[in-house]
């Protein structure tokens, strides 16, 4: 058993447990923190798979920006405590059914993969190196320049919209 495998097992346990914690904790803040932990685990998975850029993006964008925003919203709204029971009558059987389907799917894929391991292609060497970021940058700013620019406009519009909708009118009558 090599060190990678041990690392993988520990990480998977941490990932599964943090996901369970997210589902089971009654406090929204704890749930959000569990999700951050889960994101971090997934980021290390990416590192293990040899994709440092995605790992870093996962940490900065998901664990960093989005989750901190979530925490802010939860605390600002004062929604830390979830109400005791809010499950719908058909929710539980449906969830169990879907979980079984997912389990079957995962098991099926696993067994199929076991037979296919020989033919699985290794990721391109380019992806694994630090060069990946340069390649990504070049592609983004050459081939995908236009979508990139449109996205910036889109963000501007969303910001203007949010401000307009939340701004208090000066001297507005009602």
């Amino acid at each position: 058993m090599n060190s990678m495998l041990i690392l993988f097992i520990i990480l998977s346990l941490a990932a599964v447990l943090s996901a369970l914690g997210l589902l089971l904790s009654r406090s929204a803040v704890y749930a959000a923190l569990f999700l951050v932990l889960n994101f971090a685990c997934v980021a290390i998975f990416y590192l293990l798979l040899g994709a440092p850029f995605i790992a870093l993006t996962q940490i900065t964008v998901y664990a960093g920006a989005i989750m901190v925003l979530f925490l802010f919203v939860i605390m600002l709204l004062g929604a830390e405590k979830l109400p005791k029971s809010q499950s719908l009558p058909w929710q539980r059987p449906l969830a169990i059914g879907l979980a079984v389907v997912l389990l079957f799917e995962a098991g099926f894929l696993l067994f199929q993969r076991l037979h296919l391991t020989a033919t699985l292609a290794q990721p391109e060497a380019q992806i694994n190196s630090v060069d990946a970021i340069r390649t990504l940058g070049l592609t983004l700013f050459n081939q995908y320049l236009l979508p990139f620019e449109i996205t910036s406009i889109l963000l501007l519009v969303a910001m203007v919209g949010a401000i307009v909708l939340t701004k208090q009118e000066k001297g507005a009558a009602g």
């Binding site: 519009v157 307009v164 507005a172």
Partner: protein
């Protein structure tokens, strides 16, 4: 970036820049004179329209084939810019009257229109998606413009949530298409499909998901649930703009994607499109009968018209008819845009503060007190029904003709029958206006009156020379095939 890139994108670059400038200018204009932003916005739209017209007849591809200029894009861009100008014209007085005038209204509209232009020009699924978002996000905000009025906030939130949901379908569809063909570029997709490299099942799932996503945007049954509430709750000037602009842009993207990228899937998709068109026509028209609120009635009418335009998609895989059917869809979009704008402008003219004056019964006595207004409204209602001498009839004739030529006689019969049903609720408005006594309060604003007059005139006059417009539409789609 090369010169071609810049030239191809020039209308959009100018529009977005102008919108950003107006965003800043707005800060220095006192609250009482926000109307100046409207005038500046119209000026910008007019200039951009001039540039688009100068592009007419050219063929350009730019940004690695992500956007193009062709007849189709020019035709639709002009339609979108005109929609923008009319949308501002009907909003100008209305916003002031309702006390919800803020300068950002017009800049957000400009951004939304630039999204529409992108959708008309896009030749890549990613750009289509971004254009769709750039079009939708300002509309979500505009729908909630009359906050803190509850209906408007509800409309904004509902439109936002369901719109985001629909966007998910579009993105998933794009991902599936990418998975099936290895490219998001429409020309590449066609090439891969023709070369037999595409995974047909995945491609079919992708096309279906795209259809669902855009079905939401154009308000086709059964993805129409948001339409009545949003159309009713949003400020009427936004509704008018949304009903025409967003719908036309959705159809523009659908036409471009289906006609140029998925012709090989027509065997599988035609029954789906057939059903979608039929259900939309029947559902929209039947539910419209029960409405007493004019905004809700027009909302269901817009659903029904989405069904009529969807009819044009049904024969799209048949190369002999496809050209004419797409051209008739464009024609119908123009006809619907003119008529619908007129009708919404009339609603604005009769609307009073606090959402009063929106019942169909509030139109009683209009024929006696304001004969010109009543005549204009009659023209719009006749056109929406499809009764001569109006543009709506001609549009429907072209649509039905292409459907029949494509061999879908059953669908054409459904179209005719539902048009007959629609006569009931459209003509009821006319009956109420002329046959019942009442005391309607009409707000007379020069821009609004101009829009109503121009729309009524265009609806009638263009119906006598439809061939010219149809030739334009026909030339526009020439290069799509």
């Amino acid at each position: 970036m090369t010169q071609t890139d810049l030239l191809t994108l020039l209308p959009n670059i100018l529009l977005v820049t102008w919108a950003c400038i107006l965003l800043l200018v707005d800060l220095f204009i006192p609250q009482r004179r926000k109307g100046m932003i409207a005038l500046l916005a119209v000026f910008g739209l007019a200039v951009v329209m001039g540039i688009v017209l100068a592009q007419a007849g050219r063929e350009m591809t730019a940004f690695n084939g992500m956007i193009v200029v062709d007849g189709f894009s020019v035709f639709l861009s002009v339609l979108f810019l005109a929609t923008g100008i009319l949308g501002i014209a009907i909003a100008y007085g209305y916003l002031k009257r309702m006390g919800i005038e803020r300068g950002e209204y017009y800049t957000l509209m400009l951004f939304s229109i630039s999204g529409m232009l992108l959708m008309a020009q896009a030749a890549d699924l990613i750009v289509i998606f971004l254009g769709l978002e750039l079009l939708s996000i300002p509309l979500y905000v505009l729908a909630a413009w009359a906050r803190p009025r509850l209906e408007s906030e509800e409309a904004g939130l509902k439109y936002f949530l369901l719109g985001a949901f629909a966007t998910g379908f579009v993105v998933y569809g794009i991902a599936m298409t990418f998975g099936a063909t290895g490219s998001t570029r429409l020309s590449e997709i066609v090439a891969r499909v023709a070369g037999g490299e595409a995974v047909t099942t995945l491609l079919l799932i992708g096309a279906a998901l795209l259809l669902v996503g855009f079905g939401f945007k154009v308000a086709a049954v059964p993805f129409h649930m948001w339409t009545p509430d949003v159309y009713q709750g949003a400020p009427t000037s936004v509704t008018g703009f949304m009903a025409v602009g967003a719908k036309a842009a959705g159809f523009a993207a659908l036409l471009r994607i289906f006609v140029s990228a998925f012709p090989s899937l027509s065997v599988d998709l035609v029954p789906v499109l057939w059903g979608l068109a039929a259900v939309t026509m029947i559902g929209g028209n039947l539910i419209a009968i029960a409405q007493t609120d004019i905004k809700r009635m027009l909302a269901y009418s817009s659903i029904a018209h989405a069904g009529y335009i969807l009819m044009a998609f049904v024969p799209y895989g048949n190369p002999k008819v496809a050209h004419d059917s797409v051209a008739s869809a464009l024609f119908y979009l123009v006809a619907y845009a003119i008529t619908s704008f007129g009708a919404w402008a009339m609603v604005i003219a009769l609307e009073k503060a606090e959402g009063k004056g929106l019942e169909i019964n509030d139109y009683a006595g209009l024929g006696r007190k304001h004969p010109a207004m009543a005549a204009a409204m009659t023209v719009f209602m006749l056109s929406l029904t499809g009764i001569p001498p109006t543009l709506g009839l001609i549009g429907k004739l072209y649509l039905f003709r292409s459907v029949v030529e494509g061999g879908f006689i059953g669908l054409a019969i459904i179209g005719v029958l539902t048009s007959l049903i629609s006569a009931y609720y459209y003509l009821r408005v006319v009956v109420v206006m002329y046959m019942r006594d009442g005391d309607p309060q009409v707000t007379s604003e020069s821009w609004l009156n101009l829009t109503i007059g121009a729309a009524a005139l265009a609806t009638v006059v263009l119906s006598f020379v439809p061939a010219a417009l149809f030739t334009l539409a026909s030339d526009a789609v020439l290069k799509l095939f």
